[in-house]
Amino acid sequence: MKVEEKLALNKYAPATQAHITVNKGLCADCDLRPCVYGCPADCFILKEDHVSFSYEGCLECGSCRIICPKGALQWAYPQGGFGICLQYG
């Protein structure tokens, strides 16, 4: 089962504003791109020459915040009440 399919099962209260933003200029010199491996929700996808980011499926774990070696992320939780709403946990 693909991550994408799993995320589609989750309940979210979608926020219109991104809670995490990437300073893409800094990603250019990042060789290892740990975010691509460390994000359990595949929010960071390796494209040919860059990493693309989307916040919608974020599981709010905080991994990317810790592993980004360049300090390229402005990281916050979504505004109160928005984002993932676990039904089981």
Partner: protein
Amino acid sequence: MTEKFDAIVVGGGPAGCASACVMAKSGLNVLLFERGQYAGAKNMWGGAFFGPQLKELFPNFREEAPVERFVTRHTFSFLTKKGSTTLDFKPAFSGPPSDNGFIVMRAKFDKWLAKKVEQAGAIVVTSMLVDDLLLDGGRVTGVRIGKEEFSSDAVILAEGVNGILAQKAGLCSGVSADNMKQGVKEVIALPKQTIEDRFNVNGSEGAAMEFVGSCTRGVPGGGFLYTNKESLSVGIVVELGALVKNRLKASDLLEEFKEYPDVARLIRGGKTVEYSAHLIPTGGLKMMPKLFSAGVLVAGDAAALVLGTGLILEGANFAMASGVAAAETVITAKKKNDFSETALRDYERLLREGFVLRDMHTFKETPRLLKNTRIYDLYPEVVFEVLENILENDGKPRTKAYKIAGKVIKTRVGFARLLSDLWAMRKMT
């Protein structure tokens, strides 16, 4: 809002709810903020609650709390590509279930906890993300949400693993990925009867299963499987630093884990209904932030109070116990009307007197020892090979078991290395 509170609690998990409950019951004016739409909306775990903390706080929890099942069977498996070796612990079960494990699902359980907090007299406000702490000359005097300020004598930070506010307050200098484990999990729905038949449990009995070995491809960590009432929690926990260094993804490891025959058989026919992820602070004492300063105390995961020994992973009971200790400290401080750093030192004393800091000290070497990758790639294979050779009957005359074990150890590990690992591991679990 101009009203001043005795205490503001940030976070409606076990640490925050326990502290708010204790303070409210003693008559303090308590406000708890939770960023989820309801307490539990953001929280996932394995998981089972161990120890007597729940009963101490809520004597009737067995009748009231949404417990899925009681752990009556605990298994530990070594997984290899060739097969597995399992230790299956199942005490004869009679009378009321013991305190040794209540399986709960956080979305329901934390919601229940927050209701108990309200019943105790505290105000619980959900869908509220605390953005910042209010500071006055180095002393924490409340919290800020957007443009609104809420003031209080004390703030208890029970915000969980990422500890954003604790960092903002300068209590914690940041964390390393080597001190964090990432957990990913699927909840897989299955009929109640199927679960009971498959796991050999009845009624409210339940199984907690831990797996180490090839399922994490050499990354420190393991797999887990817990039985809920009508679903299974199936997941992988892996050290974040090693995960990305090895260019592996926890989501892929989880898919592989589900395909191991031991696991596949148990989840067969189930339907995945939720996928979640969460970090666990597993660096032990070394990553513990400063626990308090003037007007503020840190409890639970935010203070890295988690015990992972390889055999057990406990955080919720540590969170509750630390929340209670923080609450008791604030209650005393309120009586003296002194919330200075010196007055809050009681918190550390209480944690030292109870099991929280004692266990953290007893197992202070464990996080380092658990990084020995042989635990995950080599030793499970050695155990399997020894048993394979003992049990195999190829028609030739047999060799004694100790000789077989000796030969496997000699070729796969080396005696010196085994001894040094065993010597180190005595400090581990």
